[in-house]
Symmetry: C2
Subunit: 305 residues, 2 copies
């Protein structure tokens, strides 16, 4: 009998076409669930919830299997897999979406297999808040810890749904511009206060190459990003950060601000590996020893003696 | 008999006219030396080297005196004091210089009083590299630790002088765009490597609200910025950071990477106070207890347990 996943992740699975100033890839494995699950699976038994089309390549499933990801929540629908294409600017920070084809994602209704419904940790990656709520509604008991991601689009077109969702999660993660648009506040401390008033005990602000900031009743925690000499493809940085964080947190058990801080460090490390290659090329071949080595190096970089 | 300063600072002293989205000030005390000395003087006996015009307000000198700054290196020249005016954008990060009037600064030749010439710590704030070199040339013995700041202008129009200077300093501080322009390298790790090859053991990259990064033979140290709810006037943030850093370092004695890291933390704290008010309003009334309290809070924000 298979073990039930301790962490489940819902979001998008897609085929990405990515152009950076130096290289490009066509129709490679991507999507928030792919990155987050690949990042989390090294720490804890992780189950994915998502949909692919009948054209989804066999290699995608093989990689998920190799990583030990539970695929009982992966649906296959008649039609083409979700596709995204984008191009990165010279500084590798700004990107432009060239095309989004929803395909089978358009009529996606996440359906949790029974083995997922008592998972203590849930990561609702960026999809429509109504779908995120639909996943939460299928849980047999209130999970110990729910983290949700979102984006500008939902803040604009699904604000009420998003607020209903946010009231039910433990940790909301946003970037600086989302924090600003959601609250009307440009200052991060004020924005985080407003967001915490909406419900979540924790607000995690992602700042890309500048790291992240955690706001909680225990105050503010400042986490730099792991500095890299060669960024090959930034796609999935935020999702692998969040996935690594949730995987590490779920593996540890008791949730506290200190535990989240440690998990953020591991999330940063996994994300730093992820952007050193296209698609899941690096996460697909990442050893626990490599993670520990970089985590210990990163800890030293952040330590003021 | 007066004590000789342990730290001397050379740079500009000026009267600033500053406009932020919410408020403005006209002809208030400013300049790199003013900010750096005010930040350093709380930690160590600091001597200023600079020039003012005959119109320099009595209140300026009173404030320097109140802060315990040694003014034997402050020259007064016939004419008007250096003036700068600028306006900050809504996000408080980008600023535009409206006007720079060099006035007495045009013919400034820094002249060190004898009591300054054996100072073990020297901060060469941002002025023409030829003047920075001229100061170093007047020292009776090689100082224990020399830090230099610079700007895009000197990288462009005084590149050879700047390289001569950089070869003689222990720590060079630049921002990200200066690092890029000076080395041709966009990646910070690569740029820092090139800069260290020019001579300095330490490269300190200032990233404004995102903190700073120290590069040395001991690796990389990542320091976030102290997060603030209300930034009133960012003018002098970099100079008060550098001044606080040098003051704390000079007060401590032996220089090491760990000592610089601790000094960076104090520099960040002093800079965070500085931007909470216009001009030197806050630095002029800052108690050691307030600095220690915020430093301890800041330490907690950076600690991963």
């Amino acid at each position: 009998m298979r073990q039930d996943p301790r962490l489940i992740v819902v979001g998008s699975i897609g085929l990405d076409t990515v152009r950076t100033p130096r290289d490009s890839r066509t129709d490679v494995l991507g999507g928030s669930v792919s990155y987050a699950c690949a990042a989390a699976a090294g720490f804890v038994k992780t189950g994915m919830v998502g949909v692919v089309g009948t054209d989804f390549p066999r290699e995608g499933r093989s990689l998920f299997r190799k990583l030990g990801i539970d695929m009982r929540g992966l649906q296959t629908a008649e039609g083409a897999t979700f596709r995204w294409s984008g191009v990165y600017a010279k500084n590798m920070n700004n990107r432009k979406t060239l095309k989004t084809e929803l395909n089978v994602f358009r009529s996606f209704q996440p359906r949790l297999p029974p083995s997922y419904r008592r998972a203590p940790f849930v990561f609702l990656a960026n999809i429509a808040p109504a779908l995120q709520l639909h996943v939460l509604g299928q849980m047999e008991r209130r999970p110990d810890f729910v983290m949700a991601d979102t984006m500008d689009l939902w803040i604009r077109i699904a604000n009420a749904d998003l607020r209903t969702l946010v009231a039910q999660v433990d940790l909301l993660t946003v970037n600086e511009s989302e924090a600003h648009h959601f609250t009307g506040q440009r200052n991060l401390i004020r924005a985080a206060r407003i967001l915490r008033d909406m419900g979540p005990r924790y607000i995690l602000v992602k700042r890309g190459e500048h790291g992240s900031v955690l706001f909680s009743e225990d105050g503010i925690l400042l986490m730099p990003a792991y500095p890299l000499e060669d960024v090959v493809d930034p796609t999935g940085a935020g999702d692998s950060f969040a996935g690594g964080l949730m995987g590490r947190l779920a593996a540890g058990g008791r949730v506290s601000t200190d535990a989240i801080a440690r998990a953020m460090l591991y999330g940063s490390v996994v994300a730093s590996f992820n952007v050193e290659a296209f698609s899941l090329e690096r996460l697909g071949a990442l050893s626990p020893a490599a993670i520990e080595e970089r985590a210990s190096l990163f800890r030293r970089m952040c330590r003021i003696r």
